[in-house]
Amino acid sequence: MLDKLKLSVGNLVILAAGVVMVLSSLLPFLKAAPVHGGPVSSTVWSNGFLGIATLPVLLGAVMAGQVGLAAFATRVKVPEHVLGLAWDQIHLTLAAQAVLLMLSWLAVDRAEFNQGRQLGFWVMLLAAIGLMAGAVLRVREPQPVS
């Protein structure tokens, strides 16, 4: 099955985690309690979050996009190295950054966020861990013989 899909286990995990990351970005991320009015749920695309909270989603999308292009769009030539970094290294870098950012969101202690972290946040955290697992698996997998 995986052979048919031309995907290794590591790449499959990256693709799945990347898709989950993008979809979960549309779910409520944090419930904030503004000074006036009731608590408001925000996604990572909401004002005040768009940017630093959206970054893990963009990193996951780049990772899944590269894997998807390499596996399914055989006519598209993806360069083997970018700025001297191989794709295995780029995946590790992006995944580590995504995990660090999500763990930082977990640790941050702001009064406005006292209403709690929402489903989207927890799914994004799990997806970031999934991206990291996929990147590590990808590095450990034997390289295909060309």
């Binding site: 940017g51 001297g84 290294q89």
Partner: protein
């Protein structure tokens, strides 16, 4: 090294909302950026002044690749902070963002120099 020192110093200045990157409101989300800069500065200072350098390979990265990867992530985070509506962006945020972008520029320039040195012996 200079960029790392500036980023560490700026991390104690006001970042946004009258708080520094070390205050509960921003730590550790905004502190990652100065930490990346400081780590790169310390690495270069150790190599330059104490002759201590990283092993030839760390997690599959050569030292110069690691520098470039960290610097590029710092630049991406810097741009993300500029794009984020945090209310009043203060001096610390602007210095951190500029520092992140400057780190990437410095790492790319170092890479070019090393490649040139390799080619011309």
């Amino acid at each position: 090294m200079a960029i790392g020192a500036v980023m560490l110093f700026a991390s104690f200045l006001q970042f946004a909302g009258g708080a520094s990157t070390w205050s509960g409101a921003w730590f550790p989300l905004a502190t990652l950026l100065p930490l990346y800069g400081t780590a790169m500065g310390v690495k270069i200072a150790l190599a330059r002044f104490a002759g201590i350098s990283l092993p030839d390979e760390v997690a599959g990265f050569a030292p110069e690749q690691l520098e470039l990867a960290v610097a590029c992530m710092a630049a991406v985070m810097g741009l993300a902070w500029v794009a984020t509506d945090v209310g009043d962006r203060q001096i610390g945020l602007w210095i951190e963002a500029a520092g992140g972008i400057a780190l990437a520029g410095a790492a790319l320039s170092l890479r070019r120099e090393r490649r040139r040195a390799r080619v011309f012996g």
